[in-house]
């Protein structure tokens, strides 16, 4: 599993519900975002939502699209991109879908129950396109590695009225003027392939990127079914394009940079994931110089121990996958960083060893401050990797996502 950012999403919803209500007051004093804990959010009501309860047959392009009925879903793009001169940027573009009420509850009640209504009279037509139970969030960030600057923005919108949403065919996920859309010009060797163009901009930063999968779609864990705990249903469906050839433009403060490199795309949906005692996670997506890609995450329990549901996937240059199970990998933290913004503590240097694959990696963030201090605080940062695989030196780039402590 990955981006447990999902939890953050859920907690945003919860935050809105819990903090909100009677506390309507000026925004400076009552940010719904303040102090929301990603893990707390998981205790939300899951009654009535669909659950990920076992492996399923995916259908494409439909399964690239949204899965309403599940409480949360995201499309996550990260990548390390370089200019010709070697200037280096990390980027993140994520769209989150968050369902506010279970699918069996009719979101649009009869607005006008008129007891004396003539049964023959036609009921009022309800054609408002704004009513919805879909809340979307988007996170957009750029790590300017050379200047050690991390710029980011979070946006919210309702998944309605054509403002924001996700569509499978043709693939399009968008929040207002930020979008990832199927790149119709790109070569598309299979139904599963998903070449996209990503466009996002704000006052400071912008991206306009073309992404083309260099490897086939990866179904993590059990054919894309990824349990996070012992309880059935505490699981997600998790698909990735682990290596996407990327080129385009990154703009920072009105300066354009032509860049190219690799991106990584995750698509995951679920209703509940973390178990009761689980405290947080550390997640890695790494693209190695020998053509291998590695996804690895570990879930930490409240007592500090590691959850046995920590897993990963190693993808060879041809796209064949090797599932990593409990105990296959060992992650040691080598250095911590305390965020001056939130006071949270995040590891920023690790040693990862996977003995079964003769793999030993030193992982470190390019610079520490890549915290996303948004509605729910987390860390999404570009990392570099050096190490040894089968006695051969390897290197690489990647991203780390953490909930921190």
């Amino acid at each position: 599993m990955r981006h447990l950012t999902l939890l953050m999403l859920a907690s945003i919803t919860l935050g809105i519900i819990v903090i909100g209500f009677w506390l309507l007051s000026p925004p400076d004093s009552e940010k719904i975002t303040a102090g929301a804990s990603p893990v707390e959010a998981l205790r939300g009501d899951i009654e009535g939502y669909y659950r990920a309860e076992g492996p399923k047959e995916f259908e494409f392009p439909a399964d690239h699209g949204p899965h309403p009925g599940y409480r949360t879903e995201w499309w996550y793009y990260t990548g390390n991109l370089f200019t010709e001169n070697g200037r280096h940027f990390g980027y993140q573009f994520t769209i989150f879908r968050n369902q506010l009420s279970p699918p069996d509850a009719d979101p649009i009640a009869d607005p006008n129950p008129d007891p004396i209504a003539d049964p023959n009279a036609s009921p009022p037509k309800n054609q408002t396109s704004w009513a919805t139970n879909q809340l979307y969030l988007a996170h957009f960030a750029i790590s300017d590695i050379d200047n050690k600057e991390h710029k980011y923005e979070e946006r919210f919108s309702r998944g309605a009225a054509g403002l924001t949403g996700a569509e499978a065919d043709p693939f399009r996920i968008w929040m207002e003027d930020w979008s990832a859309e199927l790149d119709a010009d790109a070569s598309s060797p299979s139904e599963e392939s998903l070449p996209v163009t990503i466009q996002a901009r704000n006052n400071q930063i912008a991206v306009n990127l073309s992404l083309n999968p260099a490897k086939p779609l990866v179904l993590h864990a059990d054919h894309g079914y990824d349990p996070k705990g012992p309880d059935p249903g505490n699981a997600s469906y998790y698909l990735s394009f682990t290596r996407m050839l990327t080129s385009g433009t990154i703009t920072i403060e009105h300066t354009d940079y032509e860049v190219s490199g690799y991106s990584w795309m995750d698509h995951e949906w679920s209703t509940s994931v973390l178990g009761k005692d689980q405290a947080g996670w550390d997640w890695f997506s790494l693209q190695l110089s020998d053509g291998y890609d590695l996804m690895y995450y570990q879930i930490r329990n409240e007592d500090g121990s590691l959850s046995p549901y920590s897993t990963g996937t190693l993808i060879d240059p041809d796209g064949n996958t090797i599932a990593l199970g409990d105990g296959d990998a060992k992650l040691e933290e080598r250095e911590n960083w305390t965020s001056p913004h939130t006071g949270r503590v995040y590891p920023v240097r690790w040693h990862l060893s996977i003995p079964s694959q003769s793999l030993n990696l030193e992982i470190a963030t390019f610079f520490p401050d890549q915290e996303m201090n948004v509605s729910v605080t987390y860390y999404e940062g570009a990392v570099h990797v050096e190490g040894i695989r089968d006695n051969e030196p390897v290197a690489g780039y990647g991203f780390v996502e953490m909930t921190g402590r």
Binding site: T13, I16, I17, I19, G20, F21, W22, L23, L24, S25, P26, P27, E30, K31, I32, L100, S101, P107, I108, A109, P111, N112, P113, D114, I116, A117, D118, A121, S122, P124, K125, N126, Q127, T128, S129, W130, A131, T132, N133, L135, F156, S157, R158, A160, A161, G162, L163, W174, E176, D177, R201, N202
Partner: protein, 878 residues
């Protein structure tokens, strides 16, 4: 250091004079109290009208401000709606993030007769605009956005309605019931925001679209454009482009550029512009109320003048002695003015208090009128404006000092020996009658002259009214003398000696009676003037309604103000109603708004046929009007529209249509009394060519010959049941309902009229009391010479009755002139309406009765007092 001797002496003497003045008043508490009450009433009326006006306006501005939030500009469509596609374009293509969709509407809670402003928002877009409706404020999105009818209201409103979160409010919007689930309360921190949110219900855009039948539409889009600078409405710029050198860059340019990117008919305007226009609509209405309230103060001034004059005359011997003792003229002047101050200050303070209370009462009438005529506003309480109180303070004290300046100067100027004589004042007045009358005539002429000033303002109209009133009051003594000499023999014939004595008494004490009579004349004349004006108005409106309402049955969706565009009728219902058996013909009406080169104007879209064209009483028109009306971009304008905007037949008005800016030619000006801000009228066929809005808000039906209107109406009610709550009225019913609104509009005027008469009544009462006190010695002589208490009572009552009769008689010409000025000058200049001037004899008789009754009532207490006095005591007095 010792204080200098002069300071000591003058300090001592002025202290002495001061005390003497106070004691003088305390010995006559009734007189003192009446003077205080008189000034208090005058001040109270002025203050209360001001407070009521300001409260209504403040409530309106605050609610618009809170609804406008931090927006600098707004995007409007044609009418009061625009396609939500514009917002989609803004967000998804142009990337304009500081934008928020808004739907505004009204919903009522009929059992409480309260109207709420309903604000439909997207809480996720609100952050920069309105803190209270933003997601950051903690709105629970899962039910709020779901399209269910849920909403937020302020904590204080919920308290007043005794509702809590989870409760349901039964609301009516557009004629349909909507049970609104109270999802939460807005906690307000300060009084300001509490008042601003008092009448607001916040709902989601989805909910608002359902409630107001706005699916696919928004009322407007709020924007925050960079570099907030004053910009003019886009259309004005486009219609009358400014030279490019005067452009100042920034948001005006941004607004222009943005407007250029949007479809035709969409305009980007500065946020406040609409509020300002709306707030200005009531200006004439307010000014008229204020002027009427000043009338009460004017009458109050006569009262003060009367009292002070009396005290001066009565203390003539004392003043003479004081002057002989070396008290200077300045000191006498200051003493009298000081005494006036003793009346003025408590009177004013009492008046301010009374004004606040009275405002509470008047507020409902003022609010009702504003709601009927201008815009929806709900005011729960009087906002006490310090400025108004200060103004009332200055007016009260100032009016008192001004009114007493003349008698004070009179007292100070008189040489010592004359002052020692007693009734010199009356002699003086009689001597002065020619001068007074001449001055009065000049004032009247000046007043008439100022009617013809080239600058035709409402103020100059009232100025001339004031000059005529004051001038007339100066002529009153002369007129009384003339009347008395005419009445004298008549009264003698009718009542014998007491009759003659009563008439004589009025003339003999002309110095005091004339002021009291003047006060009564002005008050009664004001009553006549306002009454005749309202009558004329009513007759005009009634005959206009008769000609305007040609159809037999009228159907409309319920609205909240004549100013608000009506809700639409359900299209299926329209067909059902039109096809009802017994309906021989019909035409539709839609009331909406358009952006024109003149601002935001109300537009009535009508289907015309030969029947309905007859209903327009044209004041001026192009001969080809009806031939071109359905086929060309032409318009009709109401008289008030033509007046307000200075346009006439043949002029062109640019209207933003869904197809872009379009010139429309005015082909006719017609009489209309439904709106003082004016209306434009367009043919439905022409409208449909330029606008996409297909809404019909009203239907007029004609019946077959054999059909009984009532039967058809109940059939129509059955047909509409369950589809939409609509108002179905017969021709007669609609006319009555319209007149009812008319009468409601003038309730406040009638209240004012009553108050002016009340002040006059107190004036007469105090004048008579003063008079009778002074004459108690004469009365005692009469008693001693054998006049029975009953005869004496008859004499006093007779005298006041004569005064009342004279006042009534004199008030008729003044009242008619006032009415004429109100009808032909003030009304025209305020609203642009031509009224048929009507003099109703009932009104004149009524005025006469009021005057006589007031005077007789005022004479009751003094005469009772005199008959109770032992003549021996009274004679011993000096």
């Amino acid at each position: 250091m010792m204080p200098s001797r002069t300071t000591f002496t003058s300090g001592y003497i002025s202290g002495l004079l001061w005390r003497s003045g106070i004691r003088y008043h305390f010995r006559r508490p009734w007189l003192y109290a009446l003077s205080v009450i008189g000034i208090a009433l005058g001040v109270a009326v002025v203050v209360s009208i001001d407070l009521a006006n300001n409260s209504a306006k403040k409530a309106f501005l605050m609610s618009t401000e809170s609804v406008t939030g931090a927006a600098t500009h707004q995007i409007n469509g044609t009418g009061r709606r625009l396609d939500e596609e514009v917002y989609r374009t803004l967000r998804t293509e142009l990337g304009i993030r500081k934008s928020a969709p808004v739907i505004e509407g009204y919903a009522s809670k009929p059992d409480l007769s309260r109207t709420f402003q309903v604000l439909g928002v997207d809480p996720l877009a609100e952050e920069h605009f309105r803190s209270f409706s933003s997601q950051q404020a903690g709105i629970e999105l899962s039910t709020f956005m779901s399209g269910e009818i849920t909403g937020f209201l302020s904590e204080t409103t919920a308290e007043a309605l005794q509702t809590a979160p989870g409760d349901t409010l039964e609301l009516i919007a557009g004629g349909r019931p909507y049970p609104l689930l109270v999802a939460g309360l807005i906690q307000t921190k300060d009084k300001y925001s509490r008042q601003a949110l008092e009448n607001l219900i916040i709902v989601d855009i989805s909910t608002a679209q359902i409630m107001f039948g706005m699916e696919g539409h928004l009322s407007r889009i709020d924007l925050i454009l960079p570099d907030d600078e004053a910009g003019r409405p886009g259309l004005l710029r486009r219609a009358y482009p400014e030279p490019s050198s005067t452009r100042t860059g920034s948001s005006t340019d941004t607004a222009e550029r943005l407007e250029a990117m949007l479809p035709d008919g969409i305009s980007v305007v500065r946020s406040g512009s609409r509020t300002e226009t709306v707030a200005q609509m009531t200006r004439a209405f307010e000014l008229n109320l204020q002027s009427l309230s000043m009338l009460a103060l004017l009458v109050g001034m006569f009262l003060i003048y009367n009292t002070i004059t009396f005290t001066v005359v009565q203390r003539r011997p004392l003043i003479g002695r004081l002057r002989a003792l070396g008290v200077t003229r300045g000191e006498i002047l200051r003493m009298i003015l000081g005494e006036a101050f003793i009346i003025g200050l408590p009177g004013t303070i009492l008046g301010l208090t009374g004004g606040i209370l009275l405002a509470q009462f008047l507020l409902q009438f003022v609010t009702q009128t504003i709601n009927d005529l201008y815009f929806v506003v709900s005011v729960q309480q009087v906002a006490i404006a310090p400025l108004t109180l200060l103004k009332g303070m200055l007016l009260g004290v100032g009016a008192t000092l001004l009114a007493s300046l003349w008698p004070a100067r009179e007292a100070a100027r008189a040489p010592v020996r004359i002052v020692l004589q007693r009734s010199e004042k009356d002699a003086l007045l009689k001597k002065n009658i020619p001068i007074l009358s001449l001055t009065g005539l000049l004032a009247i002429l000046a007043g008439i002259g100022s009617l013809f000033l080239p600058e035709e303002t409402i103020i100059s109209g009232y100025l001339s009214l004031l000059l005529i009133i004051i001038g007339f009051s100066l002529v009153v003594p002369l007129l009384i003398s003339i009347l008395a000499s005419l009445l004298h023999p008549l009264a003698g014939l009718a009542f014998g000696l007491p009759g003659r004595m009563a008439v004589r008494g009025v003339v003999a004490d002309l110095g005091r009676t004339s002021v009291a009579t003047s006060a009564l004349v002005i008050a009664v004349a004001a009553a006549i003037g306002v009454g005749l004006m309202v009558d004329s108005f009513r007759v005009t409106v009634d005959s206009w309604l008769k000609s305007q309402l040609q159809a037999d049955i009228y159907i409309q969706a319920p609205g909240f103000s004549t100013r608000e565009p009506d809700a639409g009728l359900n299209p299926e219902l329209i067909t059902l109603l039109r096809e009802a058996p017994g309906v021989s013909g019909s035409h539709s009406v839609q009331r909406t708004e358009v952006q024109t080169s003149q601002g935001v104007d109300r537009l009535t879209v009508v289907e015309t046929d030969r029947e309905s064209t007859r209903s327009y009483q044209l004041r001026k028109s192009d001969p080809g009007l009806w031939n071109r009306f359905d086929n060309e971009p032409v318009l009709l304008a109401t008289e008030s529209y033509a007046f307000r905007n200075g346009v006439t037949v043949g002029d062109t008005i640019v209207i933003i249509t869904d197809r872009g800016d379009q010139d429309f030619v005015i082909l006719g000006i017609y009489y209309d009394y439904s709106s003082d801000t004016g209306l434009l009228t367009m043919s439905r066929m022409v409208y449909d060519r330029f606008f996409q809005n297909k809404i019909i808000s009203g239907l007029a039906l004609y019946t077959d010959d054999g059909t009984i209107v009532e039967t058809l109406m109940s059939e129509l009610r059955e047909r509409s049941a369950g589809i939409q709550n609509v108002i179905i009225q017969s021709n007669q019913g609609l006319r009555e309902a319209s007149l009812e609104i008319f009468d409601r509009t003038f309730t406040v005027t009638i209240v004012m009229r009553f108050l002016a008469v009340l002040v006059a009544f107190i004036g007469v009462l105090s004048a008579l009391m003063a008079l009778q006190f002074e004459r108690s010695r004469d009365m005692a002589v009469l008693r001693a010479s054998g006049l029975t208490p009953a005869q004496l009572w008859g004499l006093v009552t007779g005298q006041t009755g004569v005064m009342g009769f004279m006042a009534g008689l004199l008030s008729i010409p003044l009242g008619v002139v006032m009415a004429a000025i109100l009808v032909y000058v003030i009304n025209l200049r305020s609203f642009g309406w031509t009224l048929q001037f009507q003099i109703t004899p009932e009104m004149l008789i009524q005025a006469m009765l009021v005057a006589v009754t007031a005077a007789i009532l005022a004479g009751l207490y003094p005469s009772w007092k005199i008959t109770k006095t032992n003549p021996a005591d009274a004679l011993r007095d000096e």
